[in-house]
Subunit: 450 residues, 2 copies
Amino acid sequence: MRVLIIGGSDAGISAGLRIGELDPAVEVAILYRDRYPNFSVCGLPYFLGGEVEGFSSLAHRSPAELAARGLELYPEHEALSLDPSRRRVLARGPAGEREFSYDRLLLATGSRPYRPPWPGLGEPGVHFLHTPGDGLRLAEDLAERGPRRAVVLGGGYTALEMAEALLRRGLEVEMVIRGERLLRPVDEPFGRALAERLVREGGRLRTRSAIRAVEKHGPGLSVRGEGWELPTDLVLVATGVRPESRLAAAAGIEVERSGAVRVDRFLRTSVPEIFAAGDLTESYHRILERTVYLPLGTIAHKEGRLAAENILGFEKPFPGIVGTQVLKFFDLALARTGLGREEAEREGLLPEVRDVTAWTHNSYYPGAEELRIRLTSEARTDRLLGAQILGPAGADVAKRIDTVAAALYAGLSREELLHLDMAYAPPFSAPWDPLQAAAQVARDSANDRG
Amino acid sequence: MRVLIIGGSDAGISAGLRIGELDPAVEVAILYRDRYPNFSVCGLPYFLGGEVEGFSSLAHRSPAELAARGLELYPEHEALSLDPSRRRVLARGPAGEREFSYDRLLLATGSRPYRPPWPGLGEPGVHFLHTPGDGLRLAEDLAERGPRRAVVLGGGYTALEMAEALLRRGLEVEMVIRGERLLRPVDEPFGRALAERLVREGGRLRTRSAIRAVEKHGPGLSVRGEGWELPTDLVLVATGVRPESRLAAAAGIEVERSGAVRVDRFLRTSVPEIFAAGDLTESYHRILERTVYLPLGTIAHKEGRLAAENILGFEKPFPGIVGTQVLKFFDLALARTGLGREEAEREGLLPEVRDVTAWTHNSYYPGAEELRIRLTSEARTDRLLGAQILGPAGADVAKRIDTVAAALYAGLSREELLHLDMAYAPPFSAPWDPLQAAAQVARDSANDRG
């Protein structure tokens, strides 16, 4: 059997490696557009900010390692069209166009950055950050031109990580967002904490600012809105991504309203023998009990691995996600899983919110730090809906959210959180873990705090 | 209604506070033997080792705070006898003997140290460490006599924490154990790592050494076995604890073979209106589906709170424990939950073991450290049985075990661990969390590693 994979990032490589583990006799060919397969795109902000040295250290595995695992790699190959009836993909590579045949096809083309309809986004000095190549170009531009000022358009994870990276490099940084606050996947008090930290670190935030255009101004640039104008030397556009489903759609494969390729729980598309995984698909959300578009590397890895198993006939459904994310922002960590109050309300649920500030461990033991925890549960059923945690980057915030993520996966109630048998010794926690302290707060006192 | 609680440590105080939260009209009286209610006994080794300053900082709450929460406190009251037919407890306090009446009684008398049958344990310089008073006496002895050498008898959590504390104070320390290895609740490779660390920190370990006697030798002491003798200045006996169920047994309340007071899932004893919680009871173990004796503060807090709810008529069963513990030993953290290979085999289960060494987070991001993870699952069903993790004390070991503890609570399988939606950003984890990396190791390669 021959499996063709289009895409050399998280989903595609995970799938290829898993097929090799399960059945080395299956041929696996992977086409990808650049020269950086299996690359940690999530690491680019740390490379650009100088926390990580060496662009190439961001590769999880080298092409040689991947080849040694039995994968046929086709770098710099862009898939142009797909013919499901003939099981053929036409691609253009360095040596020209060529057809690739398959018995099973995995679409793992990921996402592409959303390109807002503003004039001037093609000007030199305007950057997107989506691929390793984008990262290299931005690094070169920073090194060569030495820009003094930067404007970051957007307020999500990448925008925040890049605002930090550029501030670390000594640039003046202003973030410009259309709405009122940063990081909409978390509730308002947590977004506000990020805005405060941004300002404390010397950055600026411009809210409620719709953009009209980016313009060239002499040697620099200008970001212009309604009645305001920001002169700058560099613009980073970080306004989200869209599923890269154009190849699939052109071949008649069904897509969702979000533009994502439609897959069933087995990651099968609407066309036989064609699977899809990663950022070009929506993912089943266990709490919402429907699919959502959440393009994350963790999910892409899981889906890629599972798609491989289903390509080989295992018939395993994807159990689904609960929506876990974590951000490092300077020395803060902010993590979320499940639904916050705002998301829960948007979904028509009646959430109960419990807010607590708790020490990471018994306060008498040195190094205790404060965590701010919000726990959300469903008022009627006490079902746990989610948690958000803000604390110092060294305070296990990401791992604490994982415990809630496991509880959400299993559908536990808020009260069951109190019964989790969590590890305690004074240097690490308290007899009631901070999460359990949050679960104990009386609901009436909690809901006053906004 | 009047509730009488015997015991002022974790279970007793948790119960009293919970009753006050739920129904402030209920009278709650608490008898306890010393003057240190709601004290963090787990913190004593850090106080004795000098990591924590101030004995009184180890109190979770002061007597005044407890009284402000509505609790009637009777310090230095020892319960002498219990008459269930008259609902009376006879106690001796500073002002003499007195009867206390109750509508509901909670026994929270905890445990007492096991006292091996060796002559000489009453000699000056021989210490147990079980109560706050024991900690004070040991601190005074260390300060006044300035002992140079110490022998620690036992190889469990307290023994290890105290070996570290005494080494930190500059004493020569030798641990003496009857068996082959330290910390039997973890599998052999993890116990071995502790022994190596002990020696590297300047301590000594004497294995397979049954003790005959402790003897006074001039100004010092001597620990004597079969054909060996250890001169020393101080002896710490840390050979485990037993349930303090004598009061209950004398009143005709049923006890288990372990000596623990028998309770049902609602923490009711065999006698109407009498409940028991904490270290004097066994606890229901969710994986073993029977009760086990595991005297831990986390469990005592949970049981105390639940006993309060059942005393007030809620009829909530105790969901049970999974056996989670963590140790800090110098700059190492070692955590376990569920069943290791050895425990699983003792229980007649056929465990599959997966060992992995994994980075705490993407290795390109600064500060990545190695974790050693053992995952145990049931061969036939793939049910997750447990995990053990060894790593640097700053590497979130305790929180990572909590994620497994949540998975165990919910009865997840090893494969489901792969689908937990865990938080990822390069400073905190990898797209596959180390736990998931362990769950992916092929079973055949794993089982070679011992």
